[in-house]
Symmetry: none
Subunit: 525 residues, 2 copies
């Protein structure tokens, strides 16, 4: 811990998953860890081995990861009261995780020691010191999280400081001051951090904040101003209650506002944010600072006019520096610009102000009104542009499809079947297939029907399938949006289907994917 | 402006409506104004008469409101360059709105004066001074919004201060310093506000911030620390781009953390927040500070345990002080404590450490490993506890079900059908129903089969249906989680189903809902 102005410690995989509605499978965790490493985060806290089997499993798999930059951390607690650290099974599991870094938390608030832990001040200090020392002796870098530090300090500063000193004596590399309840104000954070720095000058300190007062980011920045060398947080601020310090906001503030180089490619920030939302199947928060969909959206006519004269008028940073872009909401002309840029990216240039561009824009707006969203379905947008430009050839005509699902309770496995009835150049085909689910059966039946005409379709398969119900009030009238990612082994493309019936929505997304492939113009997104 | 420590200025109806997705009709605006007044806000900015006909109409209607506490403000701009203020039609409309307060904005940033307004420094100062003076002469309290004040100050402090002095000379009651682009840090805000206070001691100053760095609330609090007497913001932080300073967070910080009495009944805060969401048809942000659904939700088992021993452990304020309440989530991270509390709330007390409690916990963890989540499915959890306690009676035995969906392309509407084959006390039933979708057809067929045995089932219907795909890598092997909310017209209860097949997952959630109802133990969640 020496060569960077501030180190980034991500706890999306641990504290993040304590938030309601934020669940990750073992595979999800591995995928996010890889992305965090690529982005340049310094520490990745993977979980608490021993708190649940999923985390033990994660650390088994994580050993195989070849991280380029980040160090993996296992999280846990100090040894139990009145137990030798060597005999504590939880501490043993922390070592068994075989991570280069172990982060342990201990109690700094006297009230917590006596009321929750129900032990003595001296034993609590020994628990901290012993556990840190034991892990250090076993070759680990040990980060100490001082839980409730600020509340503890306000109740009794000397007791709170004594717990930090115990961790420093044990050999901790960093003392992380936690505003566990999120109730501390930035001015208090700054003042208390300054005291810690003065009293314990030889061990660096870090900051771990929560957003209970909507001050999680401000509190982290206040600590950095007071000399914090490590900032803990989560992507998009996921976490217990109102969430953790939002790294997605802290990182650009550190880099762009305070001039501290913390990541090599800040322009990947927006993608990382969306990636974590997508993986956890959470909706993107449109108003999120820096990377939100509306973060650089201008609606007021006056603002739009001024932004056109001088972007700095209403933009505090260059949107592209975090991977975002300016978005002018009301102007028909600027709406066209977005489509033109997208078409250009797809290699189908449209002329600005042309009737084709207007027609495409009109169609996009109609579909968006119906619940379509082309942000993560470029494949369907491409197909739409081709159709409007009359550069589209219909590969088949569907007459009918049918799906059937029969579930037994006598041990017989369920049977899922689909039939597809279509024509290619006037030649009819009627096929049937069984599959593992409705979409799978439809996919197999459709490809069976098309294979005689288009043998190259054998290479296409589905990579991903996401369902979102858009309106939840009336169960029978809700709109379903299905997103599918297809691949031919080299390229991938994404398509969308929207309907009040989930099977039809799935069918539309599925056939768009096949259709685009058959246009011979699919490309990597 | 003298008898309160800090005055609250709400601009939800004006700056709020510049946010994407936040639209209000004239009636909506009136209803929100009444609620804001009841809550104890000091100023309500209603709109910009002259910017659009809706705002002119609003002020016509608003004259009839009998506000108990708040003063209504019309918002507008200074006179145009090189025009006598008496001849400026926009200024005339501000007077025609007949509000006790008029708020006008002017330019503080030299760059904006020369590049956007395209006039001279001197004329800009005259525009500010003349307009304020004219409105004051017409009996209005005039608040001056210094647009881009902080950016302007950083570019040229003397110019920025000169525009405030012009407004003070004109007779403004308050000089509001605006961080229009939201790019300023709290430390800068505090420093610059202190300079303003020292240089212009005889006119109070206020603060207007935006959330572009996720620092809108922190910046407002920093200004109050430096002496600001007015805070401008919006309910739930709605507004242009990432939104305005969130009053829903600032108000409890002022009142509970800084001890400044700003509203008479803080416990109405949560209701006000939900009211504005509902009126504007926006989803509630679950993680919102203070008033969010999960703001006092505890998921980690350790946290739950500690919260029971001592609520202060993980709650920085008493949730009820802002109208919120504690919420214990049941999840894979939970220990026995969560289950025990939930069981207690459900009226089925379990003894801590008992074999029943362990069995329930084990079963919950197994199911969570398979993709279940009981956080928003208390009904299924209740059923699970009843089963483990052997207090469960099986209302029917399913033998088989079947669904079929046929989609045509010749204009014939799709046909969705379900059959259910079950037994009640040895009596077989085979029923079939058509529905609008698979779930609807299954629901109808199931209830048709059960109705002869359980006539009270006629009162049960589905309120909500949510689908989530848990793993996206392999489309055919992904796990689907279905959440259903059922009602009998009085009580509502929520249930969950998980399967690798969406139809089976829907069936499981559906039958859990019916099953729980038939146990006669359903209750309000």
């Amino acid at each position: 811990m020496s060569d960077k102005p501030v180190f980034l410690y991500d706890t999306t995989l641990r504290d993040g998953t304590q938030g309601e509605g934020f669940q990750l499978s073992g595979l999800d965790k591995l995928r996010i860890a890889i992305r965090l490493d690529e982005f340049g985060v310094d520490y990745i806290e993977g979980g608490w081995p021993g708190s649940n089997p999923k985390d033990v499993e994660f650390f088994q798999e994580a050993k195989k990861l070849e991280l380029k930059h980040a160090k993996l951390a296992a999280f846990g607690s100090t040894r139990r009261a009145n137990t030798a650290v060597e005999d504590d099974p939880q501490v043993a599991l922390l070592l068994a995780a075989e991570t280069p870094v172990v982060t342990i938390f201990g109690k700094s608030w006297e009230l917590q020691v006596t009321e929750v832990l129900r032990t003595t001040i001296e034993e609590n200090q020994a628990m901290i010191r012993d556990t840190v020392a034991h892990l250090v002796q076993n070759g680990r870098e040990v980060i100490y999280d001082a839980e409730h530090f600020f509340d503890g300090y306000k109740d009794g500063p000397e007791h709170a400081l004594s717990t930090l000193i115990a961790a420093a004596e044990g050999g901790a590399s960093c003392l992380v001051l936690c505003d566990t309840n999120g109730g501390t104000l930035p001015s208090e954070i700054e003042k208390i951090c300054s005291v810690v720095k003065a009293r314990i000058p030889d061990t660096p300190f870090g900051i771990h904040t929560h957003n209970d007062c909507e001050l999680g980011v401000a509190n982290a920045i206040a600590a950095v101003r007071a000399g914090a060398k490590q900032v803990q947080g989560t992507i998009n601020g996921y976490g217990e209650r109102t969430g953790n310090c939002n790294l997605t906001s802290v990182i650009p503030i550190l880099q762009l506002k305070l001039g501290l180089d913390v990541v090599p490619q800040l322009e990947n920030l927006r993608d990382l944010s969306y990636f974590v939302d997508d993986i956890s199947n959470n909706p993107h928060f449109a108003r999120a600072a820096f990377i939100g969909r509306t973060a650089f959206a201008h609606k007021g006519g006056m603002h739009v006019n001024a932004v056109q004269k001088l972007a700095r008028s209403y933009e505090h940073i260059v949107p592209e520096s975090v991977g975002n872009s300016q978005n002018i909401l009301v102007s028909e002309l600027s709406g066209q610009s977005n489509i033109l840029i997208k078409a250009e990216q797809l290699g189908i240039p449209l002329e600005k102000g042309s009737s084709e561009a207007s027609a495409v824009l009109r169609r996009v707006k109609e579909l968006e009104h119906d619940g379509y969203s082309f942000e993560s379905a470029s494949g369907s947008l491409e197909l739409l542009i081709l159709k409007e430009l009359e550069r589209y050839t219909k590969p088949f005509t569907l007459n009918e499809y049918h799906t059937s699902f029969r579930q037994y309770r006598d041990g017989h496995p369920p049977v899922c079947e689909a039939t597809v009835k279509l024509e290619v150049n006037g030649t009819p085909e009627l096929t049937v297939a069984e599959g593992k689910g409705v979409l799978n059966a439809l996919d197999l039946a459709l490809r069976k029907a098309l294979l005689p005409f288009y043998p190259q379709i054998a290479n296409v398969s589905l990579l991903d399938y996401k369902v979102r119900i858009l309106e939840g009030r009336d169960a029978t009238a809700s709109i379903t949006r299905v997103l599918i990612v297809s691949t031919d082994g080299e390229k991938t493309w994404s398509t969308i289907g929207v309907s009040d019936n989930i099977i039809e929505a799935s069918w539309l997304a599925l056939t768009d994917g096949i259709d685009l492939f058959l246009q011979g113009v699919t490309r990597l997104e």
